[in-house]
Subunit: 164 residues, 2 copies
DNA sequence: CGACATACTCTCTTCAAGCAAGTGAGGTGA
DNA sequence: TCACCTCACTTGCTTGAAGAGAGTATGTCG
């Protein structure tokens, strides 16, 4: 990932990971895609990123193998869409870890509320990010919802699409 | 964290977390501190960051409450040192998640090897990042070692110091 | 006193972010 | 058919941070 220094050859996995993940937009884009918002304008409008930066990040994410670009038909025309690959879907535990950390250690703004990670496969809230704290199974995007009380919404995530 | 846009008032915890963690240096600095490398020059030399950037990041991390700056005497003089706070030590699951993701989804460079997370409290390797996959206990820095075969070293982490 | 170490700060150049505007391919309405 | 729209970008401009290197303030040692 040649945004700044190239750390892809580092021996320490933390550093290799940060080569890709050490950018504030990457995880936000992946979060949107895992929420099923797969089109350029959907992602742009939901996270407030500029066109230029989103365009570059999407290209990088496809190069790095976290997203794949697909065309699909809707509204009588062809749209570009970005869907998670296995590597992209596997970012879920990282997002969960960030979320759990932030809930514990950043100030909750006015109007905020606890976001619960719901493991739909067993029906319970998980308090850990990689394996469900209730049933012990790995948390896969397609089995997880994020309960966001400030939006009065429980949003089901989407994983790697079955057909490509 | 006013490096770029300020996301500290965002309702979504992922975004609030990325306000602090969405920078490649932050996690690397915290990793060094959790390895007991607490002085300016130790951190600088082990991660290869410029003086100016390290200085700014350390100030930010103290402001954000992830590090605390302490003076200690060694070599007959007073040194500045940075030690993790509770919020800093709680980054360990995030680091583990990044590391596990990177081991699975980035190319292992020549000379690299699997880095095992050892839960010294039970003596086993954990394959998950927040609770030990072997015994189920939360992974706290003071109970964890990272086994780095490429350095032929098993490095014990350090948590929040008992005295401040 | 001068040499040295530590923990920074300052200066300079390069490059990305953020904002705004433009572009081109495809589709739509009159 | 031709102006107009939407989508998914690209281009240009300005500001500001990164990275590299040199300088500086404080304290210690001989």
């Amino acid at each position: 990932m040649p945004l700044r220094s190239d750390w892809s050859e580092e021996l320490c996995p933390v550093r290799r990971g940060l080569d890709v993940l050490g950018d504030p937009w990457i995880m936000l884009i992946m979060r949107e895609v895992l929420h099923g918002r797969s089109r350029f304008e959907q992602i742009r409008d939901s996270i407030g990123i500029s066109d230029a930066v989103l365009s570059r990040r999407l290209r990088l994410l496809v190069e790095e193998g976290l997203l794949s670009k697909v065309d699909y038909r809707a509204d009588r025309r062809t749209h570009a869409a970005y869907v998670a690959t296995e590597a992209g879907a596997d970012l879920l535990p990282v997002m969960h870890a960030v979320s759990i950390w932030a809930e514990k250690h950043t100030a909750m703004p006015a109007g905020g509320a606890h976001m619960a990670i719901i493991h739909e496969a067993c029906g319970n809230e998980s308090t850990t990010g990689d394996a469900c704290s209730a049933c012990g199974e790995d948390l896969r995007p397609e089995d997880v919802s994020w309960d966001k009380p400030w939006k009065s919404a429980r949003e089901r995530l989407v994983g790697v699409p079955a057909v490509r």
